[in-house]
Symmetry: C2
Subunit: 321 residues, 2 copies
């Protein structure tokens, strides 16, 4: 099957917006409502680096879409559509491409956006995908990383470090001495949950936000750096799942969870006075929300123990180079 | 150097739009002027498939940007900005990344757009890039592929097949018996010229357009298919450079030039009555313009000889699968 037939069969059905022109034009036309601006972000994932060859390809498709939606969520943007470049390893079975498109289709229906265009090609290298996600926000209202102010509280959605433990499971490690948590942890690695509903409900109260992809401490560091402030994260309240709690009980270190990648939770800062409104938004969107620290004058992000002392970290998060 | 330092040093200087937030936010905010819509397209290129390992990396950067600008040109859209995902082969020298950014910087200044965001990562595979280009067009005015009508004339900018011959040169072939044309041909392969100035001047007269990336006959076929019409391309008037003419004189076949990839010229259809206005736009933008055929009822794109008979083609253009 050539690329045109593949696109027509598997990707055209995903291009449901009129402005995608059924992918006939290699370009989409997008109208941005008056009062809104377009929020746009791009992320790439590569076989062997961001996903594993044995990961089900439908869940790879979903993760690809979700990591970008997680970026939009952190900005307080409503998803609109996406463009997708597929760089398939030459010889990829058509069935894998069909599965990939099926996964995308399920998720785009779930999150309310549609394929707008892209490119399909093949190489001798590992399969890779690059996705550009488009969202909408009221003009000037995109939540920045740079808005943290001394006195803000630091909040985190969901639980921390599950994806990192899930990756270890997929790499053959047994977590917490038994396998009862393995399904949950690998699911957290493979299918992050972009916190769109919560962020859209809570956005007006938020000063700064970032989605946690490289590890909480690394990403809190980005807020600190761009805001010119210091984020103090407390190790004790960091929210953990039952699975991560079992791993901690078996000797795991809490600080490791704060530097593991792929959480795709949102770390944000807001005035403490907004905590009740934030809790209401969290409840309405069935999102766990935890206050994990505060912002003060200074710079950098630090993890502190119950004694208030800084916990030294081997590394703040994942780096590609 | 880690990815954050690389981005800060080499890519932040390219993010000159206020809405790019100096790449601090992993997302850009774009205001679309009232009356306009956003035109968006994405293309990926892979080392070994779309460019060669020995190609100067600064010219690879330029080609990457230009192939996307060529798509915008074919749509009649004004360039606005771009997002870029870089998938570097692990171990790529920092000097190569610096050169790549230098090439991008030169071209974005030349074409009047700026970097808006993206992603930088590394893998064990070949280096690859995916670029999403954004442009603006008046609402509903994007030039489609589907607008060709029986009676339209078919036009082509520039000259045909140079890039295909340039690729052969880079693969070690001697073209036309001597090497005097090699520099020109490889330049045409490495640095396509997106026909933005011409298309923006001529757009109001054009019924349908496509940029020729897969070979003229393949891309004329896309116009035919989406328009529900037949494009008849005449072999005799097909515009060739002095280099391609020398290759033809040495026994090369003209039909081969009509199926070679990477031209990045624009093939479009317009009423014959608009020829004078189109010539004026071509003159004003210093663009060679040739009438190469016509549209009639039917389907498909065919190449015909001076005797009016269809010339059989081994393949219409390049395919990745």
């Amino acid at each position: 099957m050539n690329e045109f037939a593949l696109i027509a069969k598997y990707f055209r059905p995903l291009a449901t917006s009129p402005g995608a022109f059924a992918l006939e034009d290699d370009a989409a036309a997008i109208t941005v409502p008056a009062g809104d601006e377009l929020i746009i972000t791009a992320d790439a994932i590569i076989e062997g680096t961001h996903f594993l060859s044995q990961d089900p390809i439908a869940s790879v498709a979903k993760k690809l879409l979700r990591v970008n939606l997680s970026d939009l969520a952190a900005k307080g943007a409503r998803p609109l559509g996406y463009l997708l470049a597929c760089l398939w390893r030459r010889g990829t079975a058509e069935a894998a491409i069909a599965e990939f498109a099926r996964g995308l289709g399920e998720d785009q229906a779930h999150y309310g956006l549609a394929l707008l265009g892209g490119d399909t090609t093949a190489s001798d290298g590992p399969t890779a995908f690059s996705l550009t996600a488009l969202g909408l926000a009221a003009k000037g209202e995109m939540i920045r990383r740079s808005g943290a102010r001394p006195g803000d509280a630091v909040f985190l959605t969901g639980t921390l470090g599950d994806a990192g433990l899930g990756l270890r499971v997929l790499q053959g490690e047994t977590i917490a001495g038994d396998k009862m948590h393995h399904g949950f942890l690998t699911q957290r690695f493979r299918l992050p949950e972009p916190r769109l509903a919560f962020m859209l409900a809570a956005r007006e109260h938020i000063h700064s936000a970032i989605d946690v992809s490289d590890g909480l401490m690394a990403d809190a560091g980005h807020i600190a750096e761009t805001s010119g402030a210091r984020l103090v994260i407390e190790v004790q309240p960091l929210p953990v799942s039952a699975a991560a709690a079992a791993w901690l009980a078996a000797g795991g270190e809490r600080a490791v969870l704060a530097t593991a990648g792929d959480d795709y939770e949102v770390c944000f800062t807001a005035p403490s006075t907004k905590a009740p409104a934030l809790r209401a938004a969290a409840d309405a969107s069935h999102t766990r929300l935890t206050e994990v620290g505060h912002v003060e004058a200074g710079n950098g992000a630090v993890l502190v123990g119950e004694d208030g002392r800084e916990i030294p970290l081997a590394r703040a998060g994942y780096r590609h180079f």
